[in-house]
Amino acid sequence: MRTNERVPVLAGTSMFLAVVLSAAVSMGQETRPAKPEEKKEAGMTTTLDNLVTAYNGESNAHARYVEFAKKADEDGYGQVASLFRAAARAEEIHAETHGEVIKKLGGTPKADLRKPEVKSTRENLEAALKGETYERDTMYPDFLRQAKAEKNRDAVRTFNFALSAETEHAKLYKEALDNLDSWKGGKKDFYVCPVCGYTVVKVDFEKCPVCSAPKDKYEKIN
């Protein structure tokens, strides 16, 4: 390299070093997280308790939707049956991801499975919508608040996965309820992310919008 070439190369290198140093000092620090055992001692619910509750809820939702799908098929609502099967798969994935975090925290994932109450397809859809709406608006936001306060990133991740999927489920149930007659007949394709359970009618993205899994990983369920 000629001498007159060295000057600008050095200028570029020192620019890079300046950026490195300034970024390194820009990271802030946060206060120490509250310990879950302190909350437990105070009789408060911990993120582990919330995970167990959510695991139970997702496991029961899975079992319920499997039965609702059978009933929808019997009633001639093939597309609704497909939706219930897709949602059942998503709930199964949520139970799995919650269960992994429970194990990581030293707990045991255990569900108290109840016999699903199966009614007419319309009533089943209404019950499903009610359940998803509660999870979307109340349960998961509360659990997330606590998991964030405890700085439990694994719990935040699995609750975020579930919250995003339940939001889509609620939309789809509402859509089916509003136009139930058009959901009669044969099967309908749904796509479920095997990592986060996100459920869509069309895969119009390259990566899962929630967990970044590649789009070809999505499972087709009908």
Binding site: E5, P8, A23, R153
Partner: protein, 169 residues
Amino acid sequence: MLGSALLPPPLPPWDGIHPLIVHFPIALLLVSPLFVLLGFLPKVGRGFALAGLVLMVLGTIGAYVAVESGEAGAELVTRTPEVAPVLQQHRELADTVRVLFTVLTAVWAVLLFGPALLKNKKLPAAAPTVAKIAFLVAYLLCAIVLANVGHLGGRLVHQYGVQAWFDGK
């Protein structure tokens, strides 16, 4: 007191490192066209042009690390109705930007070294100025896209309070 200040700060985990990483590629990729421009100077020009290439390579590598760490961090972001569309746009545009700057970096390398490598084939010794000007124009357009990715990230943090976090120990 100075003793502890001389110790390196704690590193956040991978899913919390995005804010630490992301400013590197933005700064490096936005400053490199200046070196491309200085590359037009007589005599010292080639050195600046080379420095521009070094910054582009580092910035592009930084863009890959920023996108990957951002994907990991995004799993910890709760998708409220307000946050979800902005986050999705930020992610999609960031993906596009890293491809754009990979191509630009490769093109600039070809413009710098291509003619010299092919000199036996009776080509001009340096890339024609018009090609370099066209490159600079294309680069500036891509820099606008990059600025928009940064703007969307800024909105997530400062408008919606989205934060990557770690316990800071």
